[in-house]
Every structure is written in C-alpha cells, then in structure tokens.
C-alpha cells in the first residue's frame, strides 16, 4: 500500500474516532470515500468497491468489523462508535450508488473456461448469483478490484478473515492457481 494512502487512512481513523458518533450519514460516508473513492473507485486496488454493493452485505461487514469477527486495523476503529442504525444507514447509502466501472479486462477464454469448471464444482453461483452480483447479505463480486478479490480469498482460506466459515472451508480445498483463476475471471466479468 502506498505511503500516502497509509497516511490518509491513519488520518481518517483518527478523525473517525474523534467524531463519528456526532456525524450524519453523509459525514460518515465522506470519511469512507477517502479510501473507497469519492466516485466509487477505490484509492488502491487492495480496497474494495462499496458503491453499489449489496446493502445487507455492507451492513454485515460493518457489524463484523465492529464486533471483531472480521479483523482490520483500519475498519475496526472506523466502526467502533457506529450503532446498528448508523451501519444500516451507511449500507443503504452506498448500496444506492452506481457500481463503478473499473475497466478490468475480461479473462481470456481458457481462464474463463477453467473458472466455470471450478464454479461447477464449488457451486459459487448458488450464492453469488448467475451474474456474480450476489444478493442481500451475499456480495457482488463481478467487476470488483482484482487484488482485493485475490487477497480476500487467500485470507478466507488461511482463516485470517474469519467472518464466513463456509468460505474458509470451501477455499481450503482449492490451490493458489484456482484462486487466481477465479479472481481474474470474476473481476473481469
């Protein structure tokens, strides 16, 4: 992560801790935009798109960051003072935004075919949907930042990201090459 982004995050965390409780949803959302992008395009490829993300999924992640079920040195403090309604408001705010086009190239045919074979075995679309856009508390993953997708699957597999044991159990049965295949395919879908 570039140093400038790291510095920005530290500043935002401090700002969040100081005044998140008193702010409106707009104010809180503006803090989020520092990293997740004021136009929906994140400041860094390791940061997820949250504009247009599914409302229930955003709420669950905020809830889990606050509770520590999903650990993050950045999002933990950012969510520490949010109550349930504030989290639901933020989720509704960002879910209503349009998903940005990150212009990630579509995966080549051989990668796509292998990804579909993996999907057939793992049943990914059973939750993430036919167009990989999820629903409710399941995230949209199509068009998401490639680096974020790759890292998320690896963190699920190691158990470091511990807020979805199903993803951990499933990904433990897949090698790095399959994770890379799926990340490329889904990011460019």
């Amino acid at each position: 992560m570039p140093n400038a982004v790291r510095a920005l995050i530290v500043a935002l965390v401090l700002l969040s801790c100081a005044g998140a409780r008193a702010q409106t949803t707009d104010g809180k959302a503006a803090l989020c935009s520092g990293c997740h992008g004021s136009s929906g395009v994140p400041a860094d490829p390791s940061i997820p798109v949250i504009w247009g993300q599914n409302e229930g999924y955003i709420y669950f992640q905020l809830r889990d960051f606050k509770a520590g079920a999903r650990k993050s040195a950045i999002m933990g403090p950012m969510t520490a003072t949010l109550d349930k309604q504030a989290m639901l408001d933020l989720a509704a705010y960002f879910a209503a935004k349009p998903w940005p086009n990150l212009a990630i190239p579509a995966a080549p045919g051989d990668v796509a075919r292998q990804a579909e074979r993996i999907n057939e075995s793992a049943g990914c679309k059973g939750c993430h949907g036919g167009e990989w856009r999820g629903d409710g508390t399941t995230p949209r993953v199509s068009g998401q930042n490639l680096a974020y997708l790759r890292q998320s699957m690896i963190l699920f597999r190691t158990g470091e990201r511990a807020n979805n044991p199903w993803m951990t159990a499933l990904l433990k049965t897949y090698p790095d090459t399959d994770i890379e295949t799926m990340a490329r395919y889904i990011a460019g879908y």
Partner: protein, 571 residues
Amino acid sequence: MNVLKTLAIMGGAAAMAASAAAYAQEVHNAAGSANADMGTASHTVSQALLDHAANDGKNFLQTNGDYRQTRFYPNNQINTGNVGKLHPAWLFQTEVKDTMETSPIVVNGVMYVTTAQDHVYALNARTGAQLWHYKQKLGPVTTFCCGANNRGVAVYGDMVYLATLDSKLVALDAKTGKQAWETQIADPELGYSETMAPTAVNGKILIGTNGGEYGIRGFVKAFDATNGKLLWTFNTVPENSQGVWATHDATGRDMHRDIAAEKAAYDKNGDPYKNLGGGVWQNPAYDAKTNRIFFVVGNPSPDLDGAVRPGDNLYTDSLVSLDLDTGKYVCHFQYISHDIWDLDAVSPAVLVDVKDKAGKTVPGVLHAGKTGHVYVHNRNDCSLIRFSQAMVPQENMWSLPTKEGARMLPGANGGVEWSPIATDPAAGLAYAINLHQPMTYHLEDAPYPNGKLWLGGAFKVIPGEAQSGNITAVDYNTGKIAWQVKTSQPMIGGILATAGNLVFTGEGTGEFEALNAKTGKKLWSFQAGAGVNAPPSSYAVDGKQYIVVGAGGNAQVDSKRGNTIVAFTLD
C-alpha cells in the same frame, strides 16, 4: 495523495448524498381490458373449495394440488392419446430473470405466480394477460441459501399469502394485489428466511422456515389468516434433542457414530438445541379426518460437523405430525439421526392410503428423501412401513466427512431435493425426480458465525465425473421401481400426474415433457429456452384444460436463467 485534497473530495461526496429510498411496496394494475375479460369471476376461496381440491378439475388451489399433496390432477382432457398435439397457449414474461421455483395457483381463471425476489403476478389464466403485479420491498438483511427463490402463494378467502426472503408473511388483496398486512416471522439477521409457499387451512396460515444452513432453531408457525396474529409455534428442535442415540439409519445402515464421545460431549456442553437448525422447506400436508398436519424437517446445523451437536438432533431429518389446532406434537420418525451429510428431508410429505407389511390398507404418508428412497409410513404413529429401492446410485454410505474430502453418493443435493413428488393413488405409484451428483464431503470445524452460512465444512461436486438425473415411478405398496427414465442433467423442480395417464416434468436443459404415467415413455416435449426447474400445475378455463409451468432456471444447479411462465393447451 494529498490528505487535505482528499478531505475536500470527501466534503464533495457528502454534498452528493442520496436521499433515503422510499420503502413503499409497489403494485401495478392492468388497464381495464385484461380485468374486463375476467367478468364477474369470484376471487374468493372458501374452506369448502380447498377441502375438495383433490376433485377439482378446474382450479389448482394449493401448492401441491390439494391438502394430501398428491399433485394428481383430476382432469383427463389432455391425455396419452392427444398430448402430442399440446402447444403453447400463451407465454408471460416476468420482470425478474432469475431462478424460478413457483407453483402456479389458479382460482376461477385467475393465476397467481411468484418470482425470485418475491414478486407476485396475477394473470388471466386463459390469455396470460397481467391483472396486477406486486413487488415486495425487501429489507436490507436477507440470509438465504440456494438462490432468491419463491415457491408460490397460498389463497384463502379474499387474500393471497406470500412468505418473503426477509422472513415476513404478507397478505395481499386477491383482486387488486394491494397489501392488507404483513408480519415478521423471524429475524433474518439470524439466518431465517422464507422461500416456501404458505399453507392455508381452517383460518390459519402455516409456514415453516429456511435456515438449517445458518444455525437457526427451526419451526412451523400458524398465523391468523385475517390479521397475521401468531397462533402457535412448534419448534422443530425440542430442548431435549438427544433422542435414543440411534446407530443405524432408517434403512438399517450403520452411520458410524462414536456414541461414547457424543455422550461425553453432551454431558459436558449440554443440549445444542438453540442453534441446531431443522428448517422446514416445504408445505405440510393436512389430514382433515384427524385434524393433523404432516411435514418433514431438514438438516441439523452445522451440516457436516457433528462434534458440536451431540445426540440424535431431534427432530431434524424427520417426518413430524402435529395437531392443527394447537401445534402440539403427535408423532415423528427420524430418517438419519445426527446427520453429517445434509442428506435430509425436504420434499413435501404426501398422504395416501398404503398397504402395510401385512398387506392391509392403512392411511399412509410418503416422503421422498435425498437418500434416493421413497419412505412409506403409517399415518397413525409415523412409523416406517417400508422404503423403496434406491432411485440413484449409493456408494460408501455412511462414510464420515474428512478434511481431505470423503467420496460418497448420493451427493448432498440428493436423490430427491425439495422437488415435490406426484402420486397416482389409484395406480399406487409415486413419481419422483432425482439428482445424481458425485460429491466429496469435507469436514472443517468452525464456531457459530452469528447468522452466516455454517456448514462445518464443504460438499463439492467431483470435477470430471458424469452427472445425470432421472424420473422414477415407485410402487409404494411394494417399494419396487416400476420404471425409470434417465436425463442428461440432475433434476430439480417438481412433477405433476394427471388423470390423462400422464406425468409432466421439466429439466435444466429447458426441456418440458409429458410421459406415459404407466410406462415412462416420452410422448411430447417443448424447449422453453431456460431451465424448467419448477413444479407444473394444471387447470381449466371455459372447459379447456391447460398445463402451466415456470421456466426461469435454478440457482442451485445453475441452469440457464429465464423469466417465462408458459401455459399449454390443445386446439
């Protein structure tokens, strides 16, 4: 990046904040012409009409045809002699192109269908013209397994009843589609959701729940049909869920349980009933003579890891009977105690007379399991009379799940999934559609994740191994397979038998077909362009019989998605 510049951008973002979305439900009504065509047809569904649904060759009043859930339609206008000339009468495209499991309901020429995301349409059943369209505004939190499905509505009085993904029961005015009331069934943040159709009987609306994959505590609830007030709740997992520590399943096979270790865990940690699962995915059958309902209960949570839930995990993987008025337990039969394969009980129970072991005719209950057996019970005490020959390959039952993955057949989808069976009581045949998906069962322990998917591992389709499906007719008085037709893909959806000596069913390939009910010979088919993974219905308008089915594909088997309701008839 400059921090001050970024903060300025953030201020701009705040100024662009969107206003809060409106949360009103949406109803769209048709222009006068479609409604005018309906004349003065009554929308009202009396209890007497529902009681006689099994003999009603004009309407299709309940999800599985009638309270017995036979899915046997008593109209023979379309039959083996003329089904070859069956053709589309109309096609209706819904707004939602996604997984479709609806059972069309028809009342006096008005058809009610549902889609993924909880839309309801009222259609002119003769023309397919839309009368009204209702969209449920779902709450932000929905937690559901296997697609945003809805399997249809219940009709009663002047109302249409819908259960939603965010675990609400909704009553709509049958004539206008306007919402009369809605009530929260359970908390979706804890993993509760609804995809099943409600059942309406004697002033009550009965509903189960999804969530066996999320660590819920399952139930069947009864609500007052007039106002949504809760009348009773039956918890499908009792506070004492340990049972008899059964070592063998209903078919006599050893499940390789370590009873001593389980008892030690039970003594140490107590009864695991609070997060033990036990969803009820499909409608109960109703026996008017005894005023009892019969339904099956799904898998325990977490699906594959039994270490955290010692005991038989009552009443998961069971047939259960209750008193309708009180919701009190009458009897149960557990197929798989302490299930660690998700080979549970999902397909709805069916009430027919059956031969007992001595050959005497007794009131019976049928259930087609994910194991691939049709189980035949005595209705009086839920006891098992027999089970059928296996309809799908079985291998290595019951191999325990491992970290590396244990191969075992059937795969975790079955056998028979949620798909309702059909029966021809006169012929003594039950018709079931099956999946054959070789899978490995993987164990991975994990603590209760607070409303998230909680499977305790994973089941995976084995790459490269051939999958298939089949349509099977079982003689439930002998347990023998009468005929079987193989299909190229695993089957999920449903089946309908008719007095025309036909069975109708669909495939994920888009094929919708009619078979001779006595022989299994294919007599007719239609390519619907998307997976036909929904149960067919039948009805008659102006003296003409129709067959109707949804073609929207399916999330669970990932068949091609579509958005069409297709009705067929003869010239």
